[in-house]
Symmetry: D2
Subunit: 291 residues, 4 copies
Amino acid sequence: MTRYGFIGLGIMGSAMAANLARAGFDLTVWNRTPGRGAELEGLGATVAASARQVVADSDITFAMLADPAAARAVCDGDAGVLAAMAPGKGYVDMSTVDPATALAIEEQVTRRGGAFLEAPVSGSRKPAEEGSLIILAAGNRDLYDRSLPALERLGKKIMHLGPTGNGARMKLVVNMVMGQMMAGLCEGMALAGASGLGVPDLLEVLDAGALANPMFRLKGGLIQRGDFTTSFPLKHMQKDLRLALALGEQSGQPLFAAAATNELFKRALALGLGTADFSALASAVDGFRRP
Amino acid sequence: MTRYGFIGLGIMGSAMAANLARAGFDLTVWNRTPGRGAELEGLGATVAASARQVVADSDITFAMLADPAAARAVCDGDAGVLAAMAPGKGYVDMSTVDPATALAIEEQVTRRGGAFLEAPVSGSRKPAEEGSLIILAAGNRDLYDRSLPALERLGKKIMHLGPTGNGARMKLVVNMVMGQMMAGLCEGMALAGASGLGVPDLLEVLDAGALANPMFRLKGGLIQRGDFTTSFPLKHMQKDLRLALALGEQSGQPLFAAAATNELFKRALALGLGTADFSALASAVDGFRRP
Amino acid sequence: MTRYGFIGLGIMGSAMAANLARAGFDLTVWNRTPGRGAELEGLGATVAASARQVVADSDITFAMLADPAAARAVCDGDAGVLAAMAPGKGYVDMSTVDPATALAIEEQVTRRGGAFLEAPVSGSRKPAEEGSLIILAAGNRDLYDRSLPALERLGKKIMHLGPTGNGARMKLVVNMVMGQMMAGLCEGMALAGASGLGVPDLLEVLDAGALANPMFRLKGGLIQRGDFTTSFPLKHMQKDLRLALALGEQSGQPLFAAAATNELFKRALALGLGTADFSALASAVDGFRRP
Amino acid sequence: MTRYGFIGLGIMGSAMAANLARAGFDLTVWNRTPGRGAELEGLGATVAASARQVVADSDITFAMLADPAAARAVCDGDAGVLAAMAPGKGYVDMSTVDPATALAIEEQVTRRGGAFLEAPVSGSRKPAEEGSLIILAAGNRDLYDRSLPALERLGKKIMHLGPTGNGARMKLVVNMVMGQMMAGLCEGMALAGASGLGVPDLLEVLDAGALANPMFRLKGGLIQRGDFTTSFPLKHMQKDLRLALALGEQSGQPLFAAAATNELFKRALALGLGTADFSALASAVDGFRRP
């Protein structure tokens, strides 16, 4: 029976690890800040003393860290992932990192004989709890196949996208499209309001036809009520737009509409909305008509 | 029992009138080009000799004409709609026209004591046949209430949007958002292709999450196969974007992302794609990398 | 000796007519509002009783009216230009009008056997007084040649640009470039200020190199002092940008940077700056950082 | 008498050093590739064996290197600038570098007791030869004052812009405005051509009025003839636009028109025009109408 490890028990990671434990997998977990493993122990998981211990005791180790810096830090040092990495072992990093970070970790893992898979996810807390994430895997194909039984407990949609780096790139492209749809929604709502139409009427029409989508349904109403409680911070969306435009620059692909959208998000940043939800873009689109 | 009339039996109109006839309503129909009423007679409708005759024999007359010029022409002359318009009668124009045309027809109808309702639809042939159109009504509220039993046979979603002109305006706003979503889809697909990602992978990811919508699902695959068979002509989309920007100009609402999108559609027009489907925008976004 | 006429003695027209009178030309003048001809009589001109009288007594009649409506109105009626138009006579309209208006007046003049020249000017009061306007003539080439001795008293640069309509079109293109240069200046000044540079330093650097131009020199300092006294109203600049974009739409020429510039001017309009100088664009570019 | 040094004798540096030598200054020079000092020896300069030797023998050393990497490399090592840096000595780096590089070199120089001045220039070979550069100095004010007698032989316009980094920043802002003016020129020329106007006529009109500037005069004719011989490479202009947009992002300044301009330059890059002159942007603006 395959032994699994899970490193990083934040909001996302603890929900994901719990799904693996509930499925009856042999599971060893670790978190930098102690005390997060208690609930998982109750579900049958073993709490290890270090990241190294997790890797030593597992065939395949999953990681879900906060950012690229944390993803690299957990690998290094005497108690780190790499200290126990060895031939036959697999490391699946599900953190959201840039292509360069993914490639750097892959290089270190494979130098020690291990196999590496990049597997960032699309979706936040609720899909993590429900095991309905979208998993954008890329890298070692054999490790992907071996990890599938576990990944299928974490996501409803699991894809292998090619060489390492493609997972990170796919997230950028998807978030760029998300930013453009948000700009379309906000400009549409602003135009409706400015020209005497009922904004709730617009939302109802949009939700009835070929453009209907869960994001418009959820965010449209929140924008209408001025509720910008953060689910995905606006400054992260603007960062992803900047990185997508840079990817276009490197790839020889001009992106006129995305560039205009990026300036709108920069305007929202300048208005002090960086930590609000990315739907606060609405205030930058029509904000000048407010006091 | 209310007597209904239906003027304009083209692709859309004949399907809509058939739904009214099948529902057992008392229905009189007319079309400028003769011979279109045969099938409707089989369903129990009466074919009149003129638009005037339809109005004379009906309490409420629906019209579905090709464009603003046709919508105005059917009203005028000895055999026209206005010749029989009188107090107690209602006229529901479901053609796609600009706000000025709707207001002009309303003025003529009400001057003769009739009531007017503007009711453009969102959706094409298939929803017309299935009675699942989105109906964007505006104008006389009482006529709206009296027309509802019939409108409910034509559409799955029927809304009253306020004073006459708002139906036409709402269509512009919705089509603007549609154009921006198409630009987002095309730039996303172009960036995916240029940066080494699988374009079908992107479509699969988009369809699995919060951005999933029928338009991406339908058009994404067609774009991928280079199939630009016209469903909604690109030149009409560009015209609607131009009119939406003009509406923004009149309403004091700048629209930076929509303006960039409009230039992309203008670029597609300049490439000779005006009569292709509006999804042919894809060729203008990344076309320069093709021979 | 050629007899000249001049119709329209506003700020521009009276200065231009005075230059012709001072040059010793045989000159008959008329203005809709009486009393404007006194100074010109002192310079040797004859004041006529109507526009028709001017045309009747002149070989070539110049006109300088406020707008397209005035340019058309002066032609019509018993006392209008057309009433005296005849073979051998020339009519040179120097008003700023759209191509359609110029073509319509040309059609009426030539139908009566006259010759027509469109000749809008670039430059305002001061160049009109100094005879240093830029004259953008288009239309009848023979009339252009015959008018040159007079035009050379009015402008320092006189060009014949082809068929009627090209004068109006050239003004649109030049004003579009002017709007884009103004956007560049305002964004540059805003970026300098936001990033800790001295804005006067930027203006000094711009004025020292290959980008140096009279508009930056004049407007840069005024913007810096917040002096937006109207020389060219912002709403007219935005209108010209809209018309230039429409010309691009008809000509198959997308204009991405001009379209973004147009949205900036629309934002300034929405801020209530339409009657301020077009350099008030500066407030729309960085205005959100002010209280 | 102040002893001056000059490091970096490329096209720009050799012309600048020659101006100092001709002015009779005590001058020691060095270049990484030997043999470049011969002409300068003829003018009275001394050729040193290393960058260190130049600094050792000079009170104030000027440097003109190719790029940030070269500017840093010349400082390091046993034979480098820093090896001889000492209290009382000044180092004036006139290379074009980013703010971070300028600050890093300043830190190293001042740690050894020296004084640092950043002084990038605007202008290319010809102004370098004629001593008519624009010099954008920033940093140590005392060193600026002491360097003025020499700087006045190199430039016609010498400015002190505040703390180190402001020289590099000012160059970015000026180049951004230059890129926007080039976009305006190219879109104007494209619109003129597409709408039936004579492009040379447009250039003549632009050069006669308030928009007249040396860049339009020079580049307009070259674009018209399709001559894109490189004076300032297009890829460098696009890089500066990207950096200016990034500066705006850090400073809270959205730049809508500059962002659209950047995408136009990216489109030109994608067409393979990176090493052509930046005026080759014209091909990206209207290129789709060419075969």
